[in-house]
């Protein structure tokens, strides 16, 4: 933390930027900044370009809200996928986890968050209205809620059920094999595949 005024301003600025990243404390931020200082200019500009590319070339798929370079995304364009099922996840990394498990051939919907009562995060902060809009096309028969088995994930699943249940769309929830408190992202493939098979109606 003790960045004295003797530290050049560009370094201070970089330290502060790193410090704002999740999981990076003041010490790590400092270490990273000084590491960048020591790397070659090519390496540094490659990193800078990669960061900018992520912001400039990646956008959200207008259908499933997953991150993509082309809209609609690869999953939404893939004709071999089952268009009657949508798996709802918290974040893009969860899509990768489910794809890795190999147990799913339907479509996705990425909420980019969960309802979080303790943090005041309500439905307007996540992409849940877009799901309702998608369902209005009438093609989707089943919605699999694959939010994490945490309190927030459960709250989100119950909320979605309340929102779309009355329309006659079947809402199921990953169940077996996923103990509460787990993060989907860190769940092993076998457990995840089994949880998909064993999903239950909410």
């Amino acid at each position: 933390m003790a960045e004295g005024s003797s530290t050049p301003e560009p370094i201070q600025r970089l330290v502060e930027s790193f410090h704002r990243l999740p999981g990076i404390g003041p010490k790590s931020a400092q270490r990273l900044a000084y590491h960048i200082l020591r790397t070659s200019e090519q390496e540094a500009s490659a990193l800078a370009r990669a960061i900018l590319d992520v912001k400039q070339r990646i956008r959200l798929c207008s259908q499933c809200m997953n991150i993509t370079e082309s809209d609609p995304c690869g999953y939404c364009r893939d004709e071999r996928r089952d268009r009657s099922v949508v798996c709802v996840v918290e974040q893009p990394l969860d899509v990768l986890a489910i794809e890795r498990s190999g147990g799913y051939r339907g479509l996705y919907h990425v909420l980019h968050g969960v309802l979080s009562p303790m943090d005041g995060i309500g439905p307007e902060h996540i992409h849940v209205r877009e799901l309702v809009v998608r369902l209005q096309a009438g093609e989707i028969q089943e919605v699999i809620m694959a939010t994490n088995p945490s309190l927030e994930g459960e709250a989100t699943a119950m909320y979605v059920q309340r929102l779309i249940g009355p329309a006659g769309v079947k809402v199921t929830r990953l169940a077996r094999g996923l103990p509460s408190g787990a993060d989907l992202e860190y769940t092993d493939d076998v457990t995840l595949a089994r949880a998909l098979e064993g999903r239950q109606e909410v």
């Binding site: 303790m118 369902l135 309190l151 119950m158 009355p166």
Partner: protein, 275 residues
């Protein structure tokens, strides 16, 4: 508390969780013996963590904690009451989270607050058993009393004169009912029906089950919620997150959801949240 041994055991209720780093969480535990405190649960979000599932918000747990240099560390956690039923119902889960946040905001770190703890245990127990929003009203009423903000319901909060049995102003800043003569002295307030006044008075001595068993109509329920909200608000320095969240849910509910005979809508323009 004076015992500075390297670890301690206590039971408590998990009020809050914040995830940090790859797989750790910091939990705010409202404990029986140590009061409210934050401690870190390392690796709790990993599939193989033995503490996972026990350290969820709203769960009543028995924990073993090691003292750390800055933050204490949970070393063991075992569920006493998971409150599964209340977590499986959106409405009751929200009420419980609201009470948990109130408990959090009305207490300070590391001060034993047994009466509040026991009140919270009772309320969670009642909600888990199917209690209505009245359980949260009971919690507010008693939390105020325990923490020294007892609502003045027998005499005027300003002049201490006895009150006639009639519609009466209730004022948060004044801390309770205010007689006609003193109304100009109260900076804000709302008129409370005779029925609502009686329910509040009854709540002071009733058990939570007796109170929850009262059959209140929607009007009376709303009246009580507003009145107790007015009494609680002056004690808090800022709005509760759970209140903000529940308001957002209510706003979202007003946007028409999917109807059984849904029609194709304008897909290019998702519905923005209401202001």
């Amino acid at each position: 508390m004076t015992d500075r041994s390297r670890s301690y055991s206590t039971e408590g209720i998990v009020l809050r969780r914040r995830n940090i780093g790859e797989a750790d969480s910091i939990l705010t535990l409202f404990s029986l013996h140590e009061g409210k405190f934050d401690a870190v649960a390392r690796g709790v979000r990993k599939a193989k963590s033995r503490m996972r599932g026990h350290l969820e918000p709203l769960t009543r747990v028995q924990v073993h904690v090691a003292r750390g240099r800055s933050l204490d560390v949970f070393t063991q956690a075992e569920t006493i009451e998971a409150h599964r039923a209340l977590k499986a119902d959106l409405e009751r889960m929200n009420l419980a989270l609201y009470c948990a946040e109130l408990a959090d905001r009305f207490t300070i770190d590391r001060v034993e607050q047994r009466p509040i703890y026991e009140l919270l245990v009772d309320v969670f127990h009642a909600l888990d058993g199917g209690a209505s929003a009245q359980a949260a009203r009971y919690f507010e009423l008693h939390l105020l009393a325990i923490t020294g903000y007892e609502a003045q319901l027998d005499a005027c909060a300003v002049c201490r004169q006895k009150l006639p049995e009639e519609e009466t102003l209730i004022s948060g800043p004044a801390g309770g009912l205010v007689c006609r003569a003193c109304r100009p002295a109260a900076s804000s307030g709302r008129i409370l029906s005779v029925r609502a006044v009686k329910v509040l008075r009854y709540g002071r001595t009733a058990t939570i089950h007796q109170f929850d068993n009262l059959r209140l109509d929607d009007t009376l329920e709303r009246e009580l919620r507003a009145a107790l909200g007015d009494l609680v608000r002056p004690v808090l320095d800022r709005e509760l997150n759970t209140t903000r969240y529940m308001d957002a849910l209510e706003r979202a509910d007003r946007i028409p959801a999917l109807s059984p005979n849904h029609v194709q809508s304008d897909q290019s323009n998702p519905v923005p949240p209401e202001p």
